[in-house]
């Protein structure tokens, strides 16, 4: 497993650059992950990231965009605005959880 230095801390990441162990995550890392991919964290971003982490913990897998949208009551359109381009992958990266496996 490669390691990289994020916000002055050495962290283990997978071959794509996602955090290997979700338990290594903290808010400082989250902020820095977001900055590195050009996302500025708002309160809404944090609410979403925290949901992603909690849902990952309770369900054992990262929620898909649809699940995020229905569970948080956030329109899909807004998810694309908050994390442009590839929202599902970007939000999981920031939240330090694996990218979602589900298809929808």
């Amino acid at each position: 497993m490669p390691t990289t230095t994020i916000a002055g801390t050495q962290v283990e990441v997978n071959e794509e650059g996602f955090l290997s162990n979700p338990d290594d995550w903290n808010e400082t890392l989250g902020t820095e992950f977001a900055r590195l991919i050009g996302v500025e964290m708002s309160e809404e971003h944090w609410r979403l990231v925290k949901f992603l982490r909690e849902d990952y913990k309770s369900q054992g897998e990262t929620p898909t965009l649809r699940r995020v949208s229905t569970q948080l009551g956030l329109p899909v359109k807004q998810l694309f605005t908050m994390f442009p381009g590839k929202p599902a992958k970007k939000m999981s990266y920031v939240a330090g959880v694996p990218k979602p496996k589900g298809c929808v």
């Binding site: 590195l36 898909t64 899909v76 381009g85 590839k86 929202p87 992958k89 298809c103």
Partner: protein
């Protein structure tokens, strides 16, 4: 501590300039989903995505029929049931409700909601001119987010350089 952090390459190289066009030509419930699922996934990857509805696929965007697509045993040996059963009254209803249940259990939206999600994700919906004319349908009969009824040549022109999927 001068090394550059290793960050996933979200914005290169696949998304930029890649374009996908999906031709949806079927009006059965089971065959509506492949195009919806792939289109939705492509949008999630930042790929410009167009769905073109033609022939039976029109039922997916016709306001009257889009929520009422059906699955049938008939002509589908992959259902692994005697074909004769498919003709018994009520069997299509049964197959449809079974499939709908299976889809809902996976938290996959119904066709109209799925199209809503695709449009919200930036997808484009187009209707086929010939199919509209044959069925005497106009834009008023179709979902409001269908961007236009276009000819086959318009579609070919529009999808220059795109990857094409016929379903």
């Amino acid at each position: 501590m001068t090394d550059t952090p290793f960050v996933p390459s979200f914005d290169e190289p696949t998304g930029e300039g890649r374009k996908l066009a999906i031709i949806c030509s079927k009006g059965t419930l089971d065959m509506a989903y492949p195009g919806l699922i792939l289109g939705n996934s492509a949008l999630g990857e930042g790929i410009e995505t167009h769905l073109f509805f033609t022939f039976w696929g029109f039922d997916m965007i016709n306001k009257k029929t889009q929520g009422n697509l059906k699955a049938t045993l008939l002509g589908n040996t992959a259902m692994h049931m005697p074909q004769g059963l498919g003709g018994i009254p009520g069997m299509t209803h049964l197959a449809t409700s079974q499939l709908k249940k299976a889809i809902a259990e996976l938290d996959i939206p119904e066709v109209p909601d799925f199209l809503d999600q695709i449009v919200a994700s930036g997808g484009h919906l187009w209707a086929c001119r010939l199919s509209a004319d044959m069925n005497h349908l106009t834009e008023a009969d179709l979902r409001d987010d269908v961007e236009g009824i276009i000819s086959a040549s318009d579609f070919i022109e529009m999808t220059a350089g795109a990857q094409l999927l016929f379903i």
